[in-house]
């Protein structure tokens, strides 16, 4: 056939696939339905079997130029045409172009009398004729139960059923055969699923009054396939299996950073904020300021000119704008400038998958840089924990793929829940900011800390989170013997510390003055001593000089005396000898 997707290894002749053209289905089946083989689509009533079969044909003609035959045992051609017109499929036009052949086969059990042996050769001939007349590559049979309800001979039916599958294979057409779900088996006869090469099971479950459609590939001979139950949608654009379910973990990782909009929170995140394209979770109990942090982030982004998409599940657009004005953020201006868009809906408005697709579509339309989901915990009311988790992981995968920063808030129940998020989705998140209320001293205060932030050295400090008229502010908290202090407690502590500091400074001043005084005293003493010492010194010097004078006089006298006694050996000093004669008299 013309369209083959898995033809990388032609030598091995692996199973070739026929792309269905249905959103998401080809990803799950890694390429499409088995080419030239029959596929069974089974499920209960109203689960979308006919639509799947028809879309398979219509996509085949419009996208792959493969004509198709739709053999209906339930709805007449005109009914089909009408039904599918609402999905934008113009069957009449396709029929006119001989791209599609609608063949309604009327079966009425009451009109048929069985008398002896028979087979369904007539059907095969008819089908073969239809296929040949337009050169069909695709065939849909809807539904096999109606076909076989006209006949009662089970032995014949079973053998004819096998023959039908063989016949289709022999024709080389890729066929989609729809079948009703049996009571305990996938199909009524419990045989079809063994005969078919690929079995797709559709279900439509209602849980908590919200219906969810799911698709599962039960088997696919010769091919790997996704085995999960994939939610799918039927809407005006036809059948879509979640197109984002198939994304693996190979999204890009940006090193670019985006500001949180709160300067001190940026500081706590290495001074730069979150990573672009990462997922951020803010959890906290009621009234801890989750939306305010979101609003700051949005405001900062809009200020940079980035587009933001805000999914609100709790409040209306106007309510959010009004409320954020109270903390000094004017989100309304960004809405007016078209950089911010709100999508508000109640979680219970439709099922989770619908939400996912609506969000997906809104994101594709608006192409934002930042997506806020406020709060994700509210989605829980629309589905089970498991589903929310799977939905979020798909959504976040998608957002990461598109390098859109995801900002989610989640409400935790009670103060003690702390680090537990109900959806268990925290592991999906790159950054997790926890808001808590601290109770004490007759009041309740908000505190903030960063539980985790992948790929950065985030602060480990608890900060007090204050909502002021000028936006959110972070303050240090006091951690002391009385626990963490915030709010009035913190203020009291601040006052206390101020007083203490004042006291300390006064004490120091006092001591300094004391020292000055002591120093002065000592110096005065030193001066007095010095003065005493000086007078003493003078006296002593005087005494010394007097002594010296006396001894000189004595020496002169002795000399004079010696001269007077005519002492020799003494050199007579000139001029003195004649005048002094007393000394020599002794």
């Amino acid at each position: 056939m013309a369209e083959t997707t898995t033809s990388e290894i032609p030598a091995l002749e692996i199973l070739q696939k026929c792309p269905s053209g249905i959103k998401g289905l080809d990803e799950i089946t890694s390429g499409g339905l088995p080419l030239g083989r029959p596929t069974l689509v089974c499920g209960g009533t109203g689960c979308g079997k006919t639509l799947l079969a028809m879309e398979f044909l219509v996509r085949g003609t419009t996208e792959y130029d493969e004509p198709g035959v739709f053999m209906s045992f339930e709805e007449k051609s005109e009914e089909l045409t009408k039904n599918f017109a609402s999905l934008g499929f113009d069957l009449n036009e396709l029929v006119a172009r001989e791209k599609l052949l609608l063949d309604y086969v009327h079966i009425e059990r009451s009109e048929i009398e069985e008398t002896g042996e028979y087979d369904l050769e007539g059907l095969f001939i008819r089908m073969g004729h239809a296929i040949d007349s337009i050169g069909a590559k695709r065939v849909a049979i809807d539904t096999i139960e109606t076909l076989f309800s006209g006949f009662s001979n089970e032995v014949t039916l079973r053998s004819e059923l096998r023959r039908l599958f063989r016949f289709l294979k022999g024709k080389g057409v890729t066929a989609v055969i729809t079948g009703e779900q049996g009571e305990r088996t996938l199909t009524r006869f419990g045989l079809e699923e063994y005969v078919a090469d690929c079995v797709i099971f559709l279900s439509h479950q209602v849980a908590n009054q919200i219906a969810t459609r799911r698709l599962r590939i039960v088997k696919y001979r010769g091919s790997a396939h996704g085995t999960n139950e994939y939610p799918f949608l039927l809407d005006e654009q036809g059948f879509s299996v979640m197109p984002i379910s198939s994304i693996g973990l190979d999204h890009p990782a940006s090193v670019d950073r985006v500001s949180t909009g709160i300067p001190r929170l940026d500081t706590m995140l290495e001074g730069k904020g979150y990573y672009r394209g990462s997922s951020i979770l803010v959890t906290g109990s009621a009234g801890t300021g989750k939306s305010s942090i979101a609003a700051h982030f949005v405001d900062a982004a809009c200020r940079r000119g980035e587009r933001c998409l805000y999914f609100a599940f709790e409040e209306s657009r106007n309510q959010i704008i009004r409320n954020m004005r109270s903390i000094g953020l004017d989100l309304g201006q960004w809405v007016d400038q078209g950089v911010l868009e709100f999508r508000n809906s109640r979680p219970t408005l439709y099922g989770l998958e619908m939400h996912l697709v609506v969000m997906h579509r809104a994101i594709e339309e608006f192409r934002p840089a930042i997506v806020v989901i406020d709060p994700i915990s509210n989605l829980l009311s629309a589905a089970s924990e498991m589903e929310v988790r799977s939905m979020l992981s798909r959504l976040i995968d998608y957002l990461k793929m598109e390098e859109i920063t995801a900002f989610c808030t989640a409400l935790t129940v009670g103060g003690a829940a702390g680090e537990r998020t109900e959806e268990g989705m925290s592991s999906l998140m790159d950054s997790w900011i926890l808001l808590q209320s601290l109770e004490g001293a007759g009041e309740r205060n908000r505190s903030l800390y960063i539980l985790k932030s992948r790929g950065m050295q985030h602060s480990n400090q608890v900060r007090e989170f204050c909502l002021t008229d000028n936006g959110a502010k972070l303050r240090d908290v006091y951690v002391g013997s009385g626990g963490v202090l915030a709010g009035a407690g913190r203020m009291a502590q601040e006052a206390r510390e101020k007083a203490e500091a004042l006291e300390r400074s006064q004490e120091i001043e006092c001591k300094q003055r004391d020292l000055e005084r002591k120093k002065a005293l000592v110096e005065a003493r030193i001066a007095a001593l010095r003065i005493g010492f000086q007078s003493e010194e003078d006296e002593l010097e005087r005494a010394i000089s007097r002594g010296k004078l006396q001894s000189e006089v004595v020496a002169q006298d002795n000399l004079d005396m010696g001269r007077a006694r005519d002492a020799d050996a003494m050199p007579p000093p000139e001029g003195n000898t004649s005048t002094n004669g007393k000394g020599g008299g002794r």
Partner: protein
Amino acid sequence: MTEKMETREEDDQSESATMEGCWQLRLYVAGITPKSLTAFANLRRICEEHLEGKYRIEVIDLMVNPQLAKGDQILAIPTLVRRLPEPVKKIIGDLSDTDRVLVGLNIRAVGGFGEGVGEIK
């Protein structure tokens, strides 16, 4: 191509008092197979016995004219279609169960019971 194996139109009074005019019967087969031959033989026998001279059999071979399968909504082979009298009745199988054929054709319900036809127990 419509192959008319047998055509008889005789104004013979049959057991079915309510029926006026001719019975138009159409037998759909797919090729000449033992099953189709059996069916044709059975049909002829039944018609001769119960509708003598008031019937017309048309045999359509879908192998030759596959497009004709659509008109009478033929799935099973062989299928006998009673086109006239109205309403249209379909009998599938090789017509070996004469009893059911008669019921299916509304022959027996009307007048066949009292005639002592061999097949009726």
